[in-house]
Symmetry: C2
Subunit: 406 residues, 2 copies
């Protein structure tokens, strides 16, 4: 019997087709390349290392591990660290002008996990779920893994095309949910207009679907705060939030606000999925945000920092690729969204760009169907302004080299 596979060993294990069919995220696959020391990344939506509150976190962790290591190191409740749930409830209440109780809040291992748990809870295989296009790749993956049938609806400069959605609903579409990043959308940077927010809420109530309102960039605004969330206008909303962009993604702390009918199911699934989110991360974040004065100042620093970077990259690309690349003008978030007006296919440009030490994501990656070949997403969040200028220079070199090839 001992060791070694028998020569006529049975076939390798069958893979659940829902999992076997998953595509890997182009962005996460690029992370290994992106971590090359000579690479300037405009690829992943990675916050700036220099804007992390590392020193403050260190101070908090030392105190927490000294005074309350039982909270930070022991098993915790699946729902999350109670003071953090309360804080999120207060935050969401203030945003939508209606009471969101801490008991509606589940702390998750990043808001990515909230997507996975919600999709698994709502979608039986084949269930229709509306996905905005272009849209967040991680949501696409989570929704696909749940077996949901993705129904793409386009995004324009005012966000999800709610008129198009209304037409599809009138024609008989009955989705279990509609997924949308409502502020400073990933990848397009668009923000859902206020009339569309109200209209989407109305459709949710009329047709009985849930809006999955994913809002990780809400606090990263450059001018005015975004419009009130869709939750303001309806209870048929699942709100996703995250500390990945405002504190640090490495902590894996996000949240979801759940309708009461859904909450116990999602909590039980989370119990099966990983018991609870990192207690150390949750306690650290709770201590950070409950110091209101520090927290406000920190958010102001982030807003100013990202606004400066957005402007720097926009300016540099406006010079280096003048007349060839048309850019959006983001009012917040982490992304420039560009469209080549000279017929350049972004996917063809990418290998030449990587060779020259700059990464981005080809826009076609954010579509469920072939499309967007002339588009690209450029994150200005990761690098300092001077490096963004250099990145733009490298991108222009790659573009010139592509021109020489064709």
């Amino acid at each position: 019997m001992l060791t070694s596979l028998s020569p006529n060993a049975p076939a390798p294990p069958r893979i659940n087709p829902l999992v076997g069919r998953l595509r890997s995220s182009a962005i996460r696959d690029m992370l290994a390349v992106t971590q090359r020391p000579d690479m300037l990344s405009l690829g992943g939506g990675m916050p700036a290392n220099d804007l992390f509150p590392a020193q403050r976190l260190a101070e908090i962790l030392v105190r927490v591990l000294d005074e309350s290591c039982d909270l930070a190191l022991q098993y915790g409740q699946t729902e999350g660290f109670a003071p953090l749930r309360s804080w999120v409830g207060g935050y969401e209440s203030a945003r939508c002008g209606r009471t969101v109780g801490g008991e509606q809040v589940l702390i998750t291992s990043g808001s990515q996990q909230a997507l996975d748990l919600v999709a698994r809870t709502l979608c039986s295989p084949g269930e229709a779920i509306v996905f905005e296009e272009p849209g967040y790749l991680g949501a696409l993956q989570a929704l696909q893994a749940s077996g949901g049938r993705l129904v793409p609806v386009p995004v324009d400069e005012d966000g999800l095309d709610v008129t198009e959605l209304a037409g599809r609903l009138a024609a008989g579409l009955r989705p279990v949910a509609v997924y949308a990043v409502t502020s400073f959308q990933n990848p397009s940077g668009a923000t859902l207009s206020d009339p569309r927010r109200r209209a989407l809420a109305g459709l949710a109530e009329r047709y009985g679907f849930l809006v999955i309102e994913d809002d990780p960039y809400a606090e990263l605004y450059f001018g005015d705060a975004p419009h009130p969330p869709v939750r303001t206008y309806s209870d048929n909303v699942i709100t996703l939030g995250s500390f990945s962009k405002t504190v640090a993604p490495g902590l894996r702390v996000g949240w979801v606000v759940l309708p009461p009918s859904l909450a116990p199911h999602v909590v039980r699934l989370k119990q099966a999925a990983d018991l609870h989110a990192s207690a150390l991360g949750q306690v650290a974040v709770a201590r950070l945000v409950e110091d209101t004065r520090w927290w406000r100042a920190h958010l102001d620093t982030l807003r100013a920092g990202y606004a400066e970077r957005a402007a720097a990259l926009t300016r540099a690309l406006g010079e280096s690729l003048a007349g060839r690349l048309r850019l959006n003008s983001p009012q917040g978030g982490m992304f420039l969204w560009g469209r080549f007006v000279d017929g350049t296919r972004a996917a063809k440009l990418l290998p030449l760009a990587l060779e020259r030490g700059v990464s981005f994501v080809a826009g076609e990656e954010f579509f469920t169907r072939p499309g967007g070949h002339d588009t690209l997403r450029l994150s200005y969040a990761t690098n300092r302004p001077a490096d963004l200028a250099e990145a733009a220079r490298r991108l222009a070199c790659a573009h010139a080299a592509l021109g020489d090839l064709s």
Copy 2:
């Protein structure tokens, strides 16, 4: 359109029946009760707060946040922090005497997540999966959530009854996997004997199933180290491990060693599920374990600490419930497993025990079918010896009160 649900609002969302059917874990439900300050918990398998390396973790975190905050706070690779994956590869290689490369290792948000990911990858709905009984509740939940059809096989004092399993296989059972906690089993404390490990490996190769070898207690032995793992004798093994029992569960850092045919699928599913495990937790654990001298001394401290607690609770219960409760004699891990010889039903005893400030888990919770009513699981890990003596006294009071009632 504004706010408020319309009076004839559509029905609440349909719940995926796989999720709707999930039972909550009795143990996790008890956590809220257990956190009452007057409660002595023999319930959850919670490590001792006083054995956490809190001071050392604080020192490491301060250094990490100062020197390499990009590693600890930024997005990381889905597969895990490379130095930690290498360390786990080396550890698992040493245990089974065969090379386990770091590239076979996926770092997960606790080994609970590994269970969830593996179950989802392997199980299409209705697929048979063998579950040892009594067995770990968290595994039961994860396997059920995947839609797998659980086939219970009993555990005796030598672990999973492999002879019974062989009979079922000979009779036509074709499971995709067999789940077993092979050392110091939860809840029974039993360790799978060496002949059974070899036999199980042989059956896996003959019938083409995977053994999911869950081994979180392997390092918590009191005398000799456990037998070599099942992986020693076959490649058809998925190994689950955890730092929850040896460092701290609040960090949510565990791992899974995957066969090459499975690894890319599980990694893609993890990407969709939560992107990656806490970077802060992973870097901290890596720094802890790579100091080999410190790590060995720490494990020795844990082993001595838990051996002392096991002895203390065994002694105290031997006095307070003499002749009424028969206990196993654990050689490691965190649990006493008891059987009342006077007909006491543990589930009836529990509310009386909670009233008196002591918790445990009724053995019947660990069965998929009605059974084990006279059994209970008592964790000696959480409390100090003096408190364990008090807990035994309270349990005896509850037992006496139950006798008075009946």
